[in-house]
Amino acid sequence: MSNSIIDFNEVSFRFPEDLTPIFTGVSFSIDAGERIVLFGPSGCGKSTLLHLMNRLYPSNCDGILDGSITLFHKDAVSFKPGEINQKIATVFQDPESQFCMPTVEQEMAFTLENFGHISRLEMESRITNTLSTLGLTHLRKATIQTLSGGMKQRVATACALLMEPEVLLLDEPLAHLDPLTARQYVEWLNELQVSKSMTIVVVEHRLDLWGTFFTRAIHVSGSFLTEDNPVSSAVAFPKRSSSMEEEVIFEAHQISISINNQRLLQNISMQLHRGEIAVLAGPNGCGKSTFLKTICGIYNKSEGSINCVGHLPGYVPQSPEHLFVTQRVSDEIRFSNHSSNEQISDIMERLLLDEIQDAHPFSVSHGQKRRVVIGAMLADQRPVLLLDEPTSGQDESALLELFYLLDLQAKEGISILIVTHDMSFAKAIADTIYLMKDGELTGRFDTYHFWNQTALLSDHQLVAPVGDYSYAY
């Protein structure tokens, strides 16, 4: 008998609302103890594959499944609801929405209660043991909502491991973590896999943060090729020539802000030139978003001054749909009524919004939503664009699209300030890097002299881009 525990044989899957299957004729098998990554761009069906492995699909979406899936040498259909989840546990990508109880202990107890046959004493000892092997004992009574994203992901993993599963599935577990936290999580997972010798299957669209973690990659898009010992490579961005001009179009001088008697920002000064692309980076909660919201006028500054040519800067939130206030894309661009008709049609054309001008802004893709927001900001005659975490959770093609989009805007004379944790993106696009920590700017660097300062980077919860990591010295 073979060692394989998950077997897909000629599997096709189609969602009931779609006309064409999301994939057809997929065959692969996974052996016990392997570390697999299901690799591919967003929307290629890799999460669907994962949901077929833990039996959330097809029953939860009425999907149409052809072919056979064998789990632990048994036909997947023959498992009772909830039965397979004792052997195959899952951790999802969003740390905010995978918990239902207030404290870590109660959350873990929820998992154990689900299986119905475990006595209270046994629950007690399992929770204690799991927490101590994972080094999380101090969090036992902690309220989940107060934990950081990285810790939430560890708690979610702890909940998954309580059942002592043979397979651990992870659905883009790093998507919402900053790079250093993500790297720490991967190291933690590595030790865990070595000590427990589980099978790990991860859905991921970027490998650069995983290092040499995986033993095998399955490329989900197209051919389902497998590749042994995949090496992580950073996204290959094209080379960009700076479009920065002499003229300063935005200047913030000694900005401080206090909200509810709490000093959030301290004496921040910054200049942006026409056509400049700057990146603002720093640990979570250091005040980056607060700064963006202050200079575009959402928050009132307590001290300091802002000089800006024309209107205040425009702001693109991490979820672009937060800015939408109308029912049509073209109304969205026209909303503020600051531009003439010619200017608006020019913006629509430049941002490729013509084809979706009658669509509802909520129904277009994420990249299109961002273009709509940028269009709306340009139509407001805002000379500076502020982007809050536009790279988080984006796959390679989305990052490239963003790269070209921003590069084009900069060439048109717009200044851009981006808050991001993604240093390979920052390296590719930025003219200038600003670092921030605890509400203060800790430095301004131009991109040539920045990337080899590993200590400075990790001091700000950042990780140098993979490609340069080796030859930076």
Binding site: G82, Q145, G297, Y315, S319, S336
Partner: protein, 253 residues
């Protein structure tokens, strides 16, 4: 356990049932004395068996007092039943003793009902309440954990609400001078909030199911909510208070 913690520690389902029974019973009494005495009784009961934050309680009672006075006033002025002896008349308005009694009864009823609700709300942990409903009153786990997830989402939704308001402020919405325009603008906030709530709910449902949640009745609880003699004692005391008030009201009027 200190006596001041008894109400906080009482089994939430038991407390809930007693509160419902008291409310339904009080609804049948139209004299002013029963709700008045019960109101006083509940306050004393809380003073003995709970660590109440009286400042908060007082603040919560302010709108209740206004409502009660409103009831009193409107029932006196617009009473349908104008029989009985005339107590006093002024400028063509007459107030009979019947009218006066019904009005007072209604006003005190507002006080009694609110005092009872606050007693429940201020001494009960919502998580324990849902868990107890599931354990003692056989509420379906699907519903119980559904409520729990919703409860966990509250702070997240609040945060998102703030984010959306901030973004809208940038587009000149929410800063309008006229109040009515701001109220109309709320509609714009609801759509993005709902759309993300639906997505989040689906993710939470998947996460729960992936951890073996099927919605079946559960056998073993890690934190069983107990039902003990003290719960019985408190319930009996409350019921004695209720019956006492009913009898007293019936005798006094």
């Amino acid at each position: 356990m200190p006596i001041k913690m008894w109400l906080h520690d009482m089994n939430p389902s038991m407390k809930f049932i007693v509160v419902i029974v008291s409310m339904l019973t009080l609804a049948w009494f139209f004299n002013p004395w029963t709700p008045f005495l019960f109101f006083i009784g509940i306050i004393l009961f809380q003073a003995v068996f709970s660590q109440l934050n009286w400042r908060l309680w007082g603040l919560l009672m302010i709108p209740i007092a206004f409502t009660a006075i409103g009831y009193l006033w409107t029932t006196i002025v617009f009473a349908a039943d104008t029989s009985g002896e005339i107590l006093f008349s002024w400028n063509g308005w007459t107030v009979t003793d019947q009218q006066w009694e019904t009005s007072l009864s209604l006003a005190f009823r507002v006080f009694a009902f609110s005092a009872m609700s606050f007693m429940f709300a201020l001494t009960t942990d919502p998580v324990k309440f849902v868990m107890s409903l599931m354990q003692q009153l056989r509420l379906s786990p699907k519903l119980a954990y559904g409520v729990m997830v919703g409860y966990q989402f509250l702070p997240v939704v609040k945060e998102e609400f703030t984010q959306i308001r901030h973004s809208h402020r940038l587009r000149g919405i929410g800063a309008e001078k006229q109040k009515w325009k701001r109220i109309v603008g709320i509609k714009r906030l609801v759509i993005p909030l709902l759309s993300s709530a639906v997505r989040r709910a689906e993710r939470a449902a998947f996460a729960m199911e992936a951890r073996g949640f099927t919605g079946e009745k559960r056998e073993v609880f890690y934190e069983p909510i107990s039902l003990n003699i003290r719960d019985g004692l408190l319930s009996v005391l409350l019921l004695i208070l209720l019956i006492g008030c009913c009898l007293a009201g019936w005798r006094l009027s």
